[in-house]
């Protein structure tokens, strides 16, 4: 969505201008030349989460296109400024500062790692820019990281683990081991499962923290085999998750225990292959297969299919869509891009963009939303047919920490 694109007047533009004139808004056409609404979008285009990031960009572009096709904000068009944060907090902070000071963005949406989003949030908070994070983190909605301009469209590890943990401890067994990526995401997920486990009488056999970017997990298999847990909670992400599952499959571990990933990614499953992932359980913020039950999912999938050659949106991709659309919707409500007004419109906003009802909780700006429990299929009918939805845990506040617990009370 370049500025050039914005200036071109297509058939739709002419029709829109005509419609506006008819509606008695003689100055509305001037909007086409007004400054566009700029949304900075730092995501890890390169690195281990590259495929998830690419999908986020596609979905975010869709939200932008829809907004512009609907006439923008009084003629002001939106544009997405995609930047590669390389999955590095320092890089992300630099890109965020550039986006704010050089590119003069109105909002920032994006990032795909707990530590990276916290780095972006530090920058936006200092400069009073609205930031909607689309990646899991507990800390971002906790004191002292949270700020009045901080919003969190993604689920938190606490709520994900609460939903997945309740299901797993109830259905699969109580003896568990944790394999976690040794950074905020892994730590927060383990903490989340422990909190649920404590209430359900779970027994923890081991917690194994592995450096992010580990290429070989074979060295963990002997110990996990010896421990014989009912459940191995796999609290890592992206390529790390995909490699662990593949190697767990090859070592025969999958035959003696359930592997449960708090977040089971569609992209990781596609890259890892059906054979390796078959039977692996997990949670997700979105799976396209809910479209038969959820009308907004059907509508979103159809628009995505149309825009991208029949492809379907992935879980994290969809977050890029809703994260951008939420900010644009709030801007439209506020009638402008002034940070305080848009933040006020977002707080408490109820919406259903793609997965059923959601709401930004007023006290911490966390999006309260449903968590889906899914299982990887051995073989699906089409390439994207990879999961079975086992259960839907509706978005309820009891999955979340209270704002007092987050230090925001």
């Amino acid at each position: 969505m370049s500025a050039e694109h914005g200036r071109r007047m297509g058939r739709r533009g002419v029709l829109r201008a005509a419609a506006m004139l008819a509606a008695g808004a003689p100055f509305a056409t001037r909007g086409a030349e007004e400054t566009p609404i700029r949304i900075g979008f730092p995501v890890p285009i390169t690195g281990p989460y590259a495929s998830e990031a690419a999908d986020q960009v596609r979905a975010a572009q869709l939200a932008i296109a829809e907004f512009n096709q609907a006439g923008g904000l009084g003629g002001r068009r939106a544009e997405l400024l995609v930047r590669d944060d390389k999955l590095d907090p320092g890089e992300a902070a630099t890109r965020a500062i550039e986006l704010i000071e050089k590119d003069r963005v109105d909002f920032i949406v994006g990032s795909l790692s707990a530590s990276v989003q916290l780095a972006v949030n530090t920058v936006t908070k200092q400069r009073g820019v609205l930031y909607n994070s689309i990646s899991q983190s507990d800390q971002i909605v906790n004191s002292p990281d949270w700020g009045p301009t901080t919003f969190h469209e993604a689920m938190t590890p606490h709520m994900t683990a609460a939903a997945v943990g309740r299901y797993a401890f109830e259905k699969l067994g109580k003896r568990c081991a944790y394999v976690a990526a040794d950074y905020a995401y892994g730590h927060e997920m383990v903490a989340g499962f422990r909190a649920v486990g404590a209430t359900m009488g779970a027994e923890e056999l081991a917690e194994i923290k592995m450096p992010i970017g580990t290429r070989d997990f074979s060295t963990l298999m002997p110990r996990l085999q010896a421990l014989r847990p009912d459940i191995v909670f796999l609290c890592n992400f992206g390529r790390d998750q995909q490699i662990f599952v593949k190697q767990a499959h090859d070592s025969g571990l999958k035959r003696m225990t359930h592997i449960v990933a708090p977040i089971l990614l569609q992209t990781a499953r596609l890259a890892g292959g059906a054979q390796a992932f078959a039977g692996v359980l997990g949670g997700t913020s979105y799976y396209w297969g809910i479209e038969n039950e959820v009308a907004s999912a059907k509508a979103f999938n159809d628009r995505f299919r149309k825009a991208y050659d029949g492809h379907l949106p992935s879980d994290y991709g969809a977050l890029g869509y809703s994260g951008v659309r939420a900010v644009l919707t709030a801007a439209a409500k506020a009638g402008g891009t002034e940070t305080a007004k848009v933040a006020a419109a977002l707080a408490g906003m109820k919406y259903d963009f793609y997965k059923g009802p959601q709401v930004y909780r007023t006290c911490d700006h966390q999006s309260v939303q449903a968590v889906f429990i899914i299982e990887s299929k051995a073989n699906g009918s089409v390439p994207d047919d990879v999961f079975t939805v086992l259960a839907t845990v509706p978005g309820q506040e009891d999955l979340l920490k209270t704002c007092a617990e987050e230090g925001l009370g």
């Binding site: 285009i45 390169t46 690195g47 281990p48 590259a50 495929s51 690419a54 040794d182 194994i208 923290k209 592995m210 450096p211 970017g213 580990t214 290429r215 070989d216 074979s218 060295t219 963990l220 298999m221 002997p222 110990r223 085999q225 010896a226 421990l227 390529r239 995909q242 490699i243 593949k246 190697q247 090859d250 070592s251 025969g252 992209t267 596609l270 890259a271 890892g272 292959g273 054979q275 390796a276």
Partner: protein, 294 residues
């Protein structure tokens, strides 16, 4: 640590040795090129990734894993020879830094080309059916495919040893590494010999990439991480020493494995600590010739 049994320890060490075989496989191509040409091939990881992608291509075109095992080293070997002819040979005799920087840059180009043609997203690479699953090795279950990788590593090493020690061409290569000038005086086209050695090194790198693909899947960046590992193994074993690479590879595997059992967080650091310790005590590595790097 609770629950530590002898069986677990034995399986852990065995897992380490198997992982070590992978490290050996990663390092020998690099070690060979350095030992014979004194070129540190930093594009080693890129050839590794290319090997995996070439294998994926063979499978996509209707071939099978066994055909890929044959085709991949030929493709990456020829590509390596082209790289030697077009780029590397112009830098012989200009110290160790120049070819190192050249291949470092080349790695970026190759990985970027992979991203452009095959996408940034990883590709699935299933374990071949005949080698799928785990077998009981007496102390626990172990993936059959990893046993196959060990066997392949041994086979490659034996063939390489036979080639270098028992064939006329091997004799020329070894002699050329000692004293290229005398070889030229004797009428040997050393340029062709170097090209062959470089191609052999990249062929093994490509084969290693193909063999690693069923272990971890295929991605453009898969070679970046292993470059550091291969370099550590090569340095610890002694730059240019095949026996050193074998010993160091197995040692690194066992150390990584035991670290994973007792202090998994330290997995990344452990092998670099090993490298630092070895370099302090024996700067040329286990079997390296002193002064080769200077």
């Amino acid at each position: 640590m609770a629950g530590l049994s002898l069986d677990l320890l034995a399986l852990q060490i065995f897992t380490g040795l198997a992982l070590g075989a992978v490290y050996v496989l990663l390092a020998i191509g690099m070690s060979l090129i350095f030992g014979m040409l004194t070129v540190v091939n930093f594009a080693h990881g890129a050839f590794f990734a290319l090997g995996a992608y070439a294998g994926f291509l063979v499978l996509t075109l209707g071939g099978n894993f066994w055909l890929a095992l044959l085709a991949v080293p030929i493709v990456t070997g020829l590509l390596g020879m082209a790289v030697e002819w077009g780029l590397v040979r112009h830098l012989y005799g200009r110290g160790i830094d120049d070819p190192l920087l050249l291949t470092f840059g080349l790695a970026y180009v190759l990985v970027e080309l992979i991203r452009i043609f095959a996408g940034t997203q990883g590709l699935p690479f299933d374990t071949p059916d005949a080698l799928a699953g785990a077998v009981d090795i007496g102390i626990g279950y172990f993936p059959l495919y990893r046993l196959f990788v060990i066997a392949m590593t041994v086979a490659i090493l034996v063939l390489l040893w036979l080639f270098l020690e028992r064939t006329r061409l091997g004799l020329i290569i070894r002699a050329g590494a000692r004293d290229p000038e005398i070889m030229r005086v004797l009428g040997v086209d050393t340029g062709r010999v170097w090209r062959l050695v470089f191609g052999l090194g990249t062929a093994i790198a490509g084969l290693a990439g193909l063999l690693a693909a069923p272990l971890q899947g295929v991605s453009p960046e898969m070679g970046n991480a292993i470059l550091a590992d291969a370099f550590v193994v090569t340095v610890v074993g002694g730059m240019g020493s095949l026996a050193g690479a074998i010993l160091a590879g197995l040692l690194v595997g066992v150390i990584v494995s035991l670290t994973a059992l007792f202090a998994p967080e330290a997995g990344d650091v452990a092998i670099f600590v090993l490298m630092a310790v070895v370099l302090l005590i024996r700067p040329q590595g286990f079997f390296g010739r002193a002064g080769l790097m200077s």
